[in-house]
């Protein structure tokens, strides 16, 4: 049981979601208050409103790419930062209420992302089924569990659910592990209020939102050069529309390294000077723990030596 002072985590619930699996990696249920939310935006807003201390939300998947609701919610509004990332394997099970047989399935409830991730399997095995969209991966499971009679109408015959949802909702498995990509991963982040940035671990990433100064040829190139000239690698870059006109983009970026590191700090200052909008969304340990390649001339000590050298030269020292 969590105590009244336990941290409160908002997440895309209910029990059985991938997000809950991510949350369990972050903090055990007995050490926190789990606050399930109907959608990602609500989870993030729960932190902004003070209802929750933290949110755990999906930010990217190997299959679907950036989670636009997360990216867009973090890019504007009251400032929040990312404090940690966790990776969760993504797999789906076709499940139903007890008694349903695979050959009876005509309508499958599924979150649109789940539907996409099982598309090839469904085309091959159930080419004629209809997609009934669900607001989450577990909503259909909850509907099955909550039905008042065995023959109560559900609006669907089966559902694509996370494997972890089978047992709590007492579902029958019709086909396990049917995701088209057996190695799919979703990356989740812990969102909190700005404050102390987690200390560098040597294998960190930094997330930023950047608007380009104009939409001329070369603006994106110039932005990328701010990183390249300081030897900072980008592990993720996604464009999102700013929303005021076609052709105007905001970029969501993950850079290798920590804002406390010299090369990252100088690159971000370069963005700050040249771009109309830069939002720092946090520096935090990489889930894979792999330290970045530090190119010649871009280590912290080389930056410090260069600064000391420049100061001496400015004061008249010989070179």
């Amino acid at each position: 049981m969590s105590t009244p002072t336990a941290p409160r985590y908002a997440y895309l619930g209910p029990a059985g979601t991938f997000t809950e699996a991510a949350l369990r990696q972050v903090v055990a249920p007995q050490d926190a208050v789990y606050l399930p939310q109907p959608d990602v935006v609500s989870a993030i807003e729960a932190v902004r409103s003070g209802t929750a201390d933290f949110a755990v939300v999906a930010i990217e998947s190997t299959v679907e790419g950036g989670v636009t609701a997360t990216l867009d919610s973090l890019a504007v509004g009251a400032p929040l930062v990312l404090l940690r990332e966790v990776l969760v394997p993504v797999q789906f099970t076709l499940a139903a209420a007890p008694g349903v047989r695979l050959e009876d399935v005509r309508r499958i409830a599924a979150h649109p992302h789940a539907w996409v991730q099982c598309r090839r399997w469904l085309s091959a095995h159930l080419p004629d089924v209809v997609h009934v969209p669900a607001t989450s991966n577990t909503a259909p499971a909850a509907l099955i569990a909550a039905r008042t009679a065995v023959d109560a109408p559900l609006g669907f015959d089966a559902a694509l659910v996370p494997p972890a949802a089978v047992e709590p909702y007492r579902l029958t498995v019709l086909a396990p592990d049917i995701a088209d990509n057996a190695h799919a991963l979703t990356r989740f982040v812990v969102v909190g209020h700005p404050g102390d940035v987690p200390a560098p671990t040597g294998a960190d990433k930094t997330t930023l939102v950047v608007h380009l100064p104009d939409n001329e040829a070369g603006a994106l190139l110039s932005m990328l050069e701010q990183f390249a000239v300081r030897g900072v690698n980008l592990s993720r870059i996604e464009s999102r529309p700013i929303g005021d006109a076609l052709g105007r983009y905001s970029f969501s970026i993950d850079a290798d390294g920590h804002i406390a590191e010299e090369r990252v700090g100088e690159a971000i200052m370069g963005l700050h000077r040249r771009c109309p909008y830069v939002r720092f969304l946090g520096s935090y340990p990489k889930a894979d723990g792999v330290p970045p390649v530090v190119h010649v001339g871009t280590s912290d000590s080389e930056f410090v030596h260069a600064r000391v050298w420049l100061r001496s030269v400015r004061e008249g020292a010989a070179t």
Copy 2:
């Protein structure tokens, strides 16, 4: 009425959708067979399977960015090309069955994109409503129109619909024009089979899918330089996961200019040589008709002169 030989257009139907509005810009109903489809992927697949000759699908909006289902469907699978683009203003009306009052609305059916585009208005005026996801902007309207009794349960009280859907479905307007962004546009494209590329008009764009050679620092920079060094501007660039691992991206790109133009052709050959995957998705007239800026040294005639000059120099001419 369309004749048996009229071209068949698949699109996200039914009547009243924004896609239908786009399709009407392309071809009048009497000159074509309109084939409504339940989703974008189905519309595209209808062309691949031969059920339709063309598809009209949304590819990008000022609010939501790239339509990932469209981008992903075109990026892989049997080759298709874009033949034309059309722009449609995006606006939403909150509508319901006759007799419903605004103060009675608790559940609003809306396609997720519509929901997002009215988020601020909804927060301000109906902060407690619940989102009931719909598979299209007109599906709830069709459900209202099709209900067998005035009090038949719909699962929602009102819907966000395109203004054009109010009349055909005999809806009552509760609040007109409530999209947060009054200037929102969606860009639609006409998809067809590869074949004759539309002739250059002087104001064209070219759509490409490109995979980077590796995920090292600088691979994206190098790709952009292939365009920059030939003076080709990019009006859209979006990253999509390749799907096999985090950090591996496919880029969907709109370049100013036509593949028949020298600078575009040379840039695309550069991509072809350096990138593991390049798919040409078509060169077609820009909807806004604005010709691109042609920088010094990048016009077709300058390319031709340079080629003639090079040939003469290779053959021993003096310079």
Copy 3:
């Protein structure tokens, strides 16, 4: 007369040279000790050895380019810096001892640079004359003035001399102003010991010597990007062999701006980190007084704001 404490200036003498004209722009003869030297290297070494406080030497001309003896002497050896630059128009007069006629001229004494700068005139008017190389522009004039008899053998019949040398050496003008380029200029610099860098004036230049990290494709490009990404323009870049192998170059660079300026300082730190050798040869006022173009995001105040902003973000401030 100069007092014992007057500053001592070494320069390529004797009286009448272009360098003396440059020196007169720097300091009047009554305020300094003029120390004529036989060549540029000797003038520079006079400062190193303590014989002189300063040297005035040519560094670049519109016709001949960089003065390699100056560039090479400054690039290695005990550190010296440039404190000021002055521009001197370059013009030549064909002159001789009294009594000599143009049609008698067979051999012309001239410093090789002078010879080059009058090449077209000489080809047109005296195609058969022979070049007798001189160590300075005034050495032949001095020989004429110093001859003990009117018919004493000189080894040459006439000389290319600066216009200012005609009178002091009592020469006869055979053809005035015969330089091929009427707008030729030579840039001279005042060389001194490292110490207080002249304060920024708003229109300064900074001279550097830089070795590239390797001779791979792109090393020069990377070096130039260190400047470009900070908006620093280069007004001069010259390659000089390092001397150990063909294909290994040292670059002599003039950058717009003062080392005390943020953008210049950051660019130089970038060079210091990436290049095996960087020598600062001074920041000093531009002779033309034209302030550099400061691009958006590269002013000192923008650098300072970015640094303050970064510090606050590193300490947890919201963005």
Copy 4:
């Protein structure tokens, strides 16, 4: 003996020069007419005027860098091309007329380049000697050999000469091999009329003269990118003043590869389109025979495949 139809080679003579050593590598005396010239410019002009078929001239040394007279003579005027390069080790001997002792030497005749290359040895061993400039490395040797009496005045006591000049001029060696850099090389080129470009050997270089479109920041960067984006390495780049104003440069460039190669041809076409002046000075075998690194996507076959692919795509082929 050479026959009347033997090719005529102009070179910086007389016998014993380094240039003669280079010429002997190119063609044996019995197979050609050797036409010694007083200077590099005369040798080049001899080809232009038809007096010679070819010229052999120094273009670059490890110590002195580019030979500006050669670079400038080739950059303008009637077009000539480079057909071959040869490398000659550079070494100097301090020699004199028989009977002269080292301790008697006060004045040393030397070509300015020779003087520079022995500077450190001279400073250490003969700090007080005076430099008497010579027009070539062998001119003083010829004067010694030609003197009519043992005590005829020469104007100098000893000379810096190529080792090969000792014997023909019957000199006495005072100090052998005194060049400061024991590994010094000079690169010579064979200059001829434009015509058939030597066929590619797989290890070639291409020499170009290029003017930048303007002197803005980034013009040099843009020029270098024309090479970089096609994977062409530069082994030499030297700036020369255009001569009309300070800050305006012509660049003399050696690029790895042959103009017949695709990547080189495309890069040169890029220069032709963007730069106000491009002169092709030849493609010829590298003296060291080392083939260039060909980066992924820049081989001839990849260029050809890309061109074939582009043509098919322009004609409507699927990708």
